[in-house]
């Protein structure tokens, strides 16, 4: 809502407060003012001039040479380039010495050999928003009404001395979608009175009911329909002051009839509509719901196909308006219109809202109906418009209102106790303080006993329905700044994070300590991304948005990997080839094509490594990351989280390199749980994403949360010495060394403290298809010193077993 400061001051005395003062006060008490716009953008010395003569410039085809009377002794000779200039016009003239917006100074000038003393201005040159003016005026000079006084200051004539407060209204404060509503708010803040406009109709001898009739067939959607009949209007432009105010509010002036309906809508917040009464069948109005696929052409010349839920105004034979949204072209007020049926109604907010949403048609009218207009203003606004129509369109207002009222406005009376106010706000207000707030708001009340009052809420404040709403009024008018600060009384509670939350933080901490960056990606993705890399939940159906903003963001992700690949590609394209990142986030899984219950939201951890292992350094040979870098991150992470029994089992799921991928499993002793996958991205996807070798991991965190343990159980340090033995063997190249390690563990049992691989060699020194493996074993007994003999005996069993099981050849 754009509120003119000058116009507002007609309803409430704002003496002593500038527009910006009011803006600050409104904002601090709950009606936010977005900006305060000065209409005068820097004009001085522009006056109304009368074009006495207008001839072609002797030396230029497109220029005119004019003699202009600006109310001074001497007329001015001015050269003008506008097409629409003509003798006999009243126009804005910037006389020599004038300044136009943008600090544009007007001086005497010579144009093609002829002197020009000033400039005739267009609306744009005056800094006006000419979007609301007719096209020929936008392209040429601003032509003023003939009755404008020559020599008058243009700022006065065009109302440019005004300022406009642009209100950013919350949905509850639709009362401020009107000048009067805003005036009540200002009056409450400043503690002043509201002056209502004149709305006393003097009617003619014609009886309205003889000329028009109203029938409401949809009382649940149309609560009140009232109409007046105005005869013999003369259609002409509305007075300039009215046009100025409409334009300040952002509404296009059309003609006096339409302008008056809009003007009153701005005053009262009650939308009105004027029908050409002679286009209505016998002056009849019938309110009903549309029929399926019924069609009508609205004022904007668009044919609309209607639905059964839409409320229509008809004349019994044809639709003439979509109730509360837009009038029909067939009954529009035009230059030839003589008699008018003026509509003022209360349509149900949700009905208008649904209709305007379905038609994609929002208007100043629908905007107000949607939020429920004040039922008391239906008649007041009708009468006010009738007064203005007789004043500015010479209309004769027929006697009486023709109406159907189906829903009475219930009075809102709310009892409120002083104690509740103070208990709720934590304040120490007296009853007088509270009453004072209601006085300022112009809410009447009845005192029921010492501490209680019953407040009679005026119908303009439909947002107030409960005692807490009144408490808010008390708080905001009294001032939120005057509410003290306190801390809760009552039991203290211990705050804490859940186990899951702690572990999530631990994962972040360890992976970042290992040099990985945490990333966050969107949950929406392109279906092709899911197809390219289905991840662990390939069998899940996809959750899709009903109306996505783009295909790119239409489907909920089922894996975090595709977006991680995009992050790697994004960074690669910016010369950042070494990407080591992880994300914890949710994927969305369902078995249903169409949801009938919430999808499962699984939290995953994904890691991506690509590029070099080490940061570039003069002393370090640069190596690319490989499977074992990623595996090491996982091993450390699980150790850190206290999870034991981690197993890597060869696997070849979709999207991964079949020879370089493992399923990560946990052997809990009772069962094997698959947590996720680790491996190299399949080279064909790598190529499609234009990446270097990429290693990826994705695991479900639910099990990780369950299996993690913060408990540390101390094991005493060994008291007896360990004995080390190394083994070097040659085995088949494809043999997985994990199998040898398992065999060693099985044979050596509890006396084996550890086994590690310290060398692997393939090449000239071993025959082809073979590899040499060197392992280091440590034996120890916890309760005594092992003898060399028993270790030698055990160790040779271990070696024998390896030789036998893996056809291994011992290197000596």
């Amino acid at each position: 809502m754009r509120v003119s400061y000058g116009w507002l001051s007609e309803y409430v005395d704002v003496t002593g407060y500038s527009a910006s003062d009011l803006a600050e006060k409104l904002t601090r008490s709950g009606v936010e003012v977005d900006i305060v716009e000065k209409l005068n953008q820097g004009i001085t010395n522009v006056v109304v001039g009368y074009v006495k003569t207008c001839e072609k410039h002797p030396n230029a085809d497109k220029l005119s040479l004019c003699t202009v009377d600006v109310g001074k002794e001497e007329d001015l000779q001015i050269i003008c380039g506008a097409k629409n200039i003509a003798a006999g016009q009243k126009v804005p003239v910037a006389v020599p010495g004038a300044v136009l917006p943008g600090n544009f100074k007007i001086k005497k000038a010579k144009l093609r050999g002829v002197e020009s003393y000033g400039m005739i201005c267009s609306a744009k040159e005056l800094g006006m928003n000419d979007r609301l003016l007719p096209k020929e005026i936008q392209e040429g000079i601003l032509v003023l009404p003939d009755d404008t006084n020559v020599g008058d200051d243009i700022l006065e004539v065009l109302g440019l001395n005004d300022e406009v407060l642009e209100l950013e209204l919350t949905p509850n404060r639709s009362d401020c979608l009107s000048m009067i509503g805003t005036a009540y708010e200002i009056a409450a803040i400043l503690g002043r009175e509201v002056k209502l406009p004149l709305a006393e109709v003097s009617s003619s001898s014609t009886i309205a009911a003889d000329k028009i009739s109203v029938k409401n067939l949809s009382p649940e959607n149309c609560h009140h329909y009232s109409a007046r009949y105005i005869e013999e209007v003369s259609i002409q432009p509305s007075p300039l002051w009215m046009q100025n105010r409409l334009m300040a509010a952002g509404i296009r002036p059309i003609n006096n009839i339409v302008d008056i309906t809009n003007y009153v809508m701005l005053e009262y917040g009650q939308p009105l509509h004027a029908f050409d009464a002679d286009q209505l069948n016998e002056g009849h109005i019938e309110v009903r719901l549309a029929e399926k696929d019924e069609k009508m052409t609205t004022l904007d010349e668009v044919e609309r196909t209607l639905e059964e839920s839409m409320l229509l105004i008809t004349d019994g034979t044809k639709p003439v308006a979509i109730a509360g949204v837009m009038g029909g072209a067939n009954s529009e007020v035009q230059a030839e219109t003589i008699n008018i049926l003026l509509e003022s109604a209360k349509f149900s907010g949700s009905s208008v809202r649904i209709t305007s949403k379905k038609l994609g048609l929002r208007s100043e009218s629908s905007l107000r109906f949607e939020k429920e207009v004040n039922p008391e203003n239906v008649t007041a606004a009708l009468n006010r418009a009738a007064v203005l129509l007789s004043q500015y369109a010479n209309g004769k207002v027929a006697d009486g209102i023709v109406e159907e009222l189906s829903v009475q406005n219930p009075a809102t009376n709310i009892e409120i106790s002083l104690r509740k106010v103070n208990d709720y706000l934590g304040t120490d207000l007296s009853k007088e303080d509270v009453k004072h707030v209601f006085d300022r708001l112009h809410f009447s009340y009845t005192e029921t006993d010492e501490s209680n009052v019953v407040v009679h809420v005026p119908s303009r404040r439909g947002d107030i329905t409960r005692d807490v709403d009144l408490i808010e009024e008390v708080a905001r008018i009294h001032g939120y700044d005057h509410i003290p600060t306190s801390l809760m009384v009552g039991v203290t509670t211990p705050g804490s994070l859940t186990k899951e939350q702690k572990i999530r933080r631990a994962i972040r901490r360890i992976l970042t300590d290992e040099g990985l960056h945490e990333v966050i990606n969107y949950s929406f993705t392109h279906p092709s991304q899911i197809k390219l890399f289905p991840g662990m939940y390939a069998e899940s159906k996809h959750v899709k948005l009903a109306l996505p903003m783009s295909e790119e963001r239409s489907t909920l992700r089922t894996s975090l990997i595709p977006h991680l690949l995009d992050v790697a590609a994004y960074n690669n394209n910016r010369n950042q080839a070494d990407v080591r990142i992880f994300e914890t986030g949710r994927v969305f899984l369902t078995e249903e094509e169409t949801l009938s219950r919430l999808p499962e939201e699984k939290e995953l951890l994904s890691i991506l490594l690509t590029g070099k292992r080490e940061t570039a350094h003069w002393s370090v040979q640069e190596n690319k990351v490989d499977f074992y870098d990623l595996k090491g991150h996982v091993e450390t992470l699980f150790e850190y989280l206290g999870i034991i029994g981690l197993e890597f089992v060869s696997a070849s799921p979709n999207g991964f390199h079949p020879g370089r991928t493992a399923s990560i499993q946990i052997n809990t002793g009772e069962q094997n749980i698959e947590l996720g996958w680790i491996g190299q991205l399949h080279p064909s996807i790598q190529q499609e994403k234009d990446l270097e070798e990429v290693y990826i991991l994705e695991i479900a965190l639910e099990e990780v949360y369950k299996l993690s343990s913060f408990d540390i159980e101390y094991v005493s340090l060994p008291k007896y010495p360990a004995i080390g033995r190394d083994i070097a063997i040659v085995v088949g190249q494809t043999l997985q060394i994990g199998e040898i390690v398992n065999s060693i563990k099985e044979t050596a049992k509890e006396l084996l403290e550890s086994v590690s691989v310290f060398d692997i060699y393939t090449g000239e020194k071993v025959s082809s298809g073979k590899k040499s493996v060197a392992l280091s074993l440590t034996y120890r007994h916890n309760e005594r010193t092992l003898t060399d003999e028993e270790v030698t005996e055990l160790h040779s069993k271990v070696v024998e077993e390896i030789e036998k099981s893996f056809n291994a050849e011992l290197r000596k």
Binding site: G30, R353, G426, R476, M488, T498, D513, G515, V519, Q576
Partner: protein
């Protein structure tokens, strides 16, 4: 013989002066003190001396031996010192070359901010609750006093999946789920961080997905002044002890009274600058007293219980805190962006 010994001593000490390395020194030791050396030779001839001469000469011979021995020792020390000096000199490195740094990753700035906020509220006795990102219309709207076709639903343009299911537009449904799970028990003191979704075109200040963190307190006798006090405590922990707050009346369907909360601009300390648009204040929170209708629907009698709720956008807080100018940076994950948050 005595003269012979003295001459030997002089000769040896003189020769020692020119010895400069360990090897020559060793040869020198063998030459003078070794088994075939002149001193040993002389001492062998002692047998021929008289009983009177023998102890005198013996003493002189021992003196000469120890003088040479001591001289060798100090020469040895000198040489070792010199050799160590030389070795250390050779070992000198260029300390201006860069070190081998273990790389350190960064927690994403949004999660960093969430963790900071969580820590403050956990310290004030709150627990952290989470909820689903795909929600039922009921939890996202209806139970929050936003019935179907309520104009206030326009405040949040929604991604629907079906008529009943949608992407949550705020973290407030977690409030309702928590209240339902608590089945009328008090106190409730929770904060709920999480991702939310709105149909906005992505630009420098809008994102179709962003992060909220909100709080809820329900108990007997919870007052609006408690809300003010709690928020003051929070912002002073978060932004410093001299931070002040200002509440402005506003509207949210699920709170009444409702308030927008401004804090004094951390950049200009309230004097007015570009960041706070010359007002000295920066809006960071929405808040209010829980609407009685919301309490009723979740099974709490509004005549017996009251509560407050507040919510903030994590991106906004992070942008203000770090001076980030474009919300899209949080989701682009440019390493040059992430690298800047390595510091604690």
């Amino acid at each position: 013989m005595k003269e012979q010994l003295e001459a030997l001593k002089l000769e040896a000490l003189k020769e020692l002066e020119s010895v400069n390395d360990s090897k020559t020194l060793n040869d020198f030791r063998v030459k003078y003190l070794g088994k075939k050396g002149p001193l040993t030779e002389i001492l062998r001839g002692m047998g021929k001396l008289s009983n009177e001469e023998r102890p005198v000469i013996g003493q002189v011979a021992n003196e000469v031996r120890s003088a040479i021995g001591n001289a060798i020792q100090s020469k040895q020390d000198e040489i070792s010192r010199k050799e160590l000096e030389n070795r250390l000199k050779e070992e000198t490195i260029d300390i201006t070359l860069p070190g081998r740094k273990p790389t350190q990753g960064a927690i994403h700035p949004l999660n960093k901010v969430i963790q900071d906020i969580e820590d403050i509220f956990v310290g004030m006795g709150y627990t952290v609750e989470e909820g689903p990102e795909v929600e039922k219309d009921y939890y996202n709207f209806e139970a929050l006093n936003l019935p179907k076709d309520h104009p206030a639903r326009d405040m949040q343009d929604t991604f629907y999946i079906t008529e009943e299911f949608l992407m949550r537009t705020h973290t407030s449904p977690v409030q309702i789920r928590t209240m339902e799970a608590k089945k009328g028990e008090v106190p409730i003191k929770i904060i709920c961080p999480g991702r939310v979704y709105r149909r906005d075109d992505d630009d420098a200040t809008h994102s179709h997905a962003f992060t909220q963190i909100e709080g809820l307190v329900i108990d007997k006798n919870v007052r609006m002044s408690d809300l003010k006090g709690t928020l003051l405590q929070f912002v002073q922990e978060m932004y410093g002890k001299d931070t002040q707050i200002r509440l402005r009346p506003s509207f949210f369907p699920f709170t009444e009274p409702s308030a927008e909360v401004d804090i004094t601009c951390a950049n200009c300390k309230g004097d007015g600058c570009r960041i706070c648009k010359q007002t000295g204040w920066i809006e960071i929170l929405g808040s209010g007293m829980v609407h009685p209708r919301v309490l009723e629907m979740a099974g709490y009698d509004p005549n017996e219980y009251s509560g407050f709720a507040f919510g903030m956008g994590v991106e906004r807080i992070a942008m203000l805190k770090y001076g980030i100018d474009d919300i899209r940076h949080f989701f682009t994950n440019d390493l040059r962006f992430l690298n800047q948050f390595v510091r604690i």
